[in-house]
Symmetry: C2
Subunit: 408 residues, 2 copies
């Protein structure tokens, strides 16, 4: 295992267990009148100005719309058009036409995971108590593509400015509970090779008794991402919603080893599993990734995405393999959150395109790689704060340039 | 450093130093009447039948010929045709039209390196004293694309059957010296992850005093590969030949650390450097590969190819990066020689196509990856012994399928 990087950081610290539910509904962040003063007003204004910003800032709306069906021919090498044209995989699930009862519900993406305060040190600097957590990274990356609802918990001390930032990205926080106690904190350090975080301190705080509750208004998400938490909690979220068109999940060795049965049960209902290579080997109980992929695909997911940090990503489906290298960057400052930003770009694109064909999945993997490549360029979500659609489109193009070669 | 794999195996054992030249010219393998009996006859017959076989077996002759110029449009994404059409890099060297004075000399590829007897143990089996060595792996892989001349040394005990095999692949062995003493032997073992060989024994034998001599008839090779030997010996070969159209070299940490100055001097005259990621970081003295690439490209080579074992290959030129993942294989038996087979496919394709444009280099990287992917499927050169053109073309297509995604 080379690098746990961003996704792992969220991993060494989320052994959350179902706790008592106390205070649900009342403590929701978006409904807290007690904090509505100046900051609340700013947030509302943020929301407004945001409706404009995100319309412009959404990658999918300005490009790519035609892609999934428009240029199929480009994908098929001479003489193999038939094989490539065959749309195996998720598209066949028959859920495409499902009526969700929500306006634009089909494009809405829900995530359950952590929202945290991270303190991170790398050879290129350090930050104290900055915005972190799998759901925060995921939602921010996905917000460039579609509307996102977050199911998470924060403590009384969680800074309003972070919530404002997320709301300004048009992220729906009505599923974020604010509970008595302190916010989940993680402190970690990376060596010069940036390939694995050393966890210095984990304070679960309110995350320890996190029991995700999906607001009634959010029970028909178009797609759902179960970030790395206890498989039983992941299942509880799945059971609270009408079956989404696509369900993806992440996990880590802590659950693979400690709650294997619960995880295996969950996987039967998961469409896409996103994990890193070490986790894949632990789950598939074999050193060879092809053998591992066969085992995992037989357990439920139709798609397995293996994240390999600086080496990129490989996606296995029943009869295809797609692999894309990571973008070689000189300015890698902090790998924290890269895996979650990958998932955010991946799911955000799929949700926005409403397409889960092999073609769409491949593009989604590239969008995920694009978002991860930005995430590592700065601490916390700082690079994503100043990202615009042009940056994303340009880097997508750079991935194409980097990987293209001529047919025979 | 994840995996020294095939190229490393050739590396942990080639600290050859210039020795006395004794016996040169006389002991050449191809001129040994004393061994000509039954085996010699077989070899001659092998050569004959081979002329047919290789005509059919050469990838370049049956396909790919038109590619370098025929389908440029496919390479250029919308709106970027100009940038991609720009043929930066090696094509600008002005050596394309050089007259070598040899019939078909422009397509001839020369390699200097080791020919060895390997004993290898992996979790999937073990072999004793089988054909190995960087020059043997390289030449065999390249022989699927073009004519190859080998400059190497073997001992009195080197089995004639190995020479017969190489000759049957249409490989010219007139530059292989047979000297008094025993052949270079290497014994190594791989753990279950197959990512790094543990050297158990190295007997340099005749390789210790190897001083490469290029026969007069071979002094105008079209292209030259300096496999991993002492940089001073690499230079001596370069000085014995008329400047080839393209010179590539490999090296290892032993020389990077021990003969850095000689290596840096050599690099000024090298077009393509092929090394693994650990070696690149050691040579560039920086953990970041982009920074390393800039440093190395400034030292001479116009192209840097970094081999990353199971993660694939990344190629850096002045203004472009090309990356291709390794082919995920379930049946990896022995990684010994993969790096040299990569180099053989890479250089073999370039020599056969007579083209060193960015397009050709990218295809060459894929052909290299194809040959490496076959090499690891069996011990020694066993997979390459039974390979045919159809296999190579099919796997090239599989690489394309594995890496393609739609533009925006």
């Amino acid at each position: 295992m080379k690098r746990k990087a961003k996704q792992p950081r969220g991993k060494g610290r989320v052994p959350a267990r179902p706790g008592r539910a106390g205070g649900k509904g009342k403590g929701r962040v978006s409904a807290r009148p007690g904090r509505a003063g100046e900051k609340g007003k700013a947030a509302v204004e943020g929301q407004r100005s945001l409706s404009r910003q995100t319309r412009a800032g959404r990658v999918q709306q300005a490009s790519g719309q035609a892609g999934a069906t428009g240029k199929e021919a480009g994908l098929a090498p001479s003489g193999r058009a038939g094989a490539m044209g065959k749309e195996a995989g998720l598209a066949a699930s028959g859920r495409a036409g499902e009526i969700t009862g929500e306006i634009a519900g089909e494009k809405t993406l829900m995530v359950v995971g952590s929202v945290a305060l991270d303190s991170v040190k790398t050879p290129f600097g350090q930050v104290q108590e900055v915005l972190g957590g799998s759901a925060a990274f995921f939602a921010t990356a996905a917000s460039y593509f579609t509307s996102v609802n977050v199911i998470a918990v924060v403590g009384e001390d969680f800074p309003e400015e972070h919530l404002t930032f997320l709301r300004e990205r048009d992220i729906d926080l009505s599923g974020v509970e604010r509970r008595p106690g302190k916010t989940f904190r993680w402190r970690g350090e990376y060596s010069y090779q940036l390939n694995e975080a050393k966890t210095l301190e984990t304070q679960l705080n309110v995350f320890e008794s996190f029991r995700p509750q999906v607001p009634a208004s959010h029970r028909s998400p178009g797609m759902l991402f179960l970030a790395n938490i206890d498989p039983d909690l992941q299942r509880s979220v799945l059971e609270q919603v009408k079956r989404p068109r696509l369900v993806a999940c992440d996990t880590m060795n802590f659950w693979i080893d400690g709650k294997r049965d619960a995880l295996i049960r969950l996987l039967k209902d998961v469409d896409v599993l996103l994990i890193n290579d070490g986790e894949a080997r632990a789950l598939g109980q074999h050193p060879n990734l092809v053998a591992v992929a066969r085992t995992i695909l037989a357990a439920g997911p139709k798609t397995l995405i293996i994240k390999r940090g600086e080496y990129g990503v490989v996606m296995f489906t029943a009869d295809r393999i797609f692999a894309v290298p990571a973008f070689p960057l000189e300015a890698v400052k902090d790998p924290t959150g890269a895996g979650d930003c990958f998932a955010g770009g991946f799911m955000g694109y799929l949700a926005s395109s409403g397409n889960v064909s092999e073609h769409a999945l491949r593009r989604a993997v590239v969008y995920g790689s694009v978002m991860a490549s930005f995430a590592v360029e700065a601490f916390s979500l700082d690079r994503l704060r100043v990202l615009d659609q042009t940056d994303i489109v340009a880097r997508f193009g750079a991935f194409k340039q980097m990987t293209i070669f001529e047919e025979l």
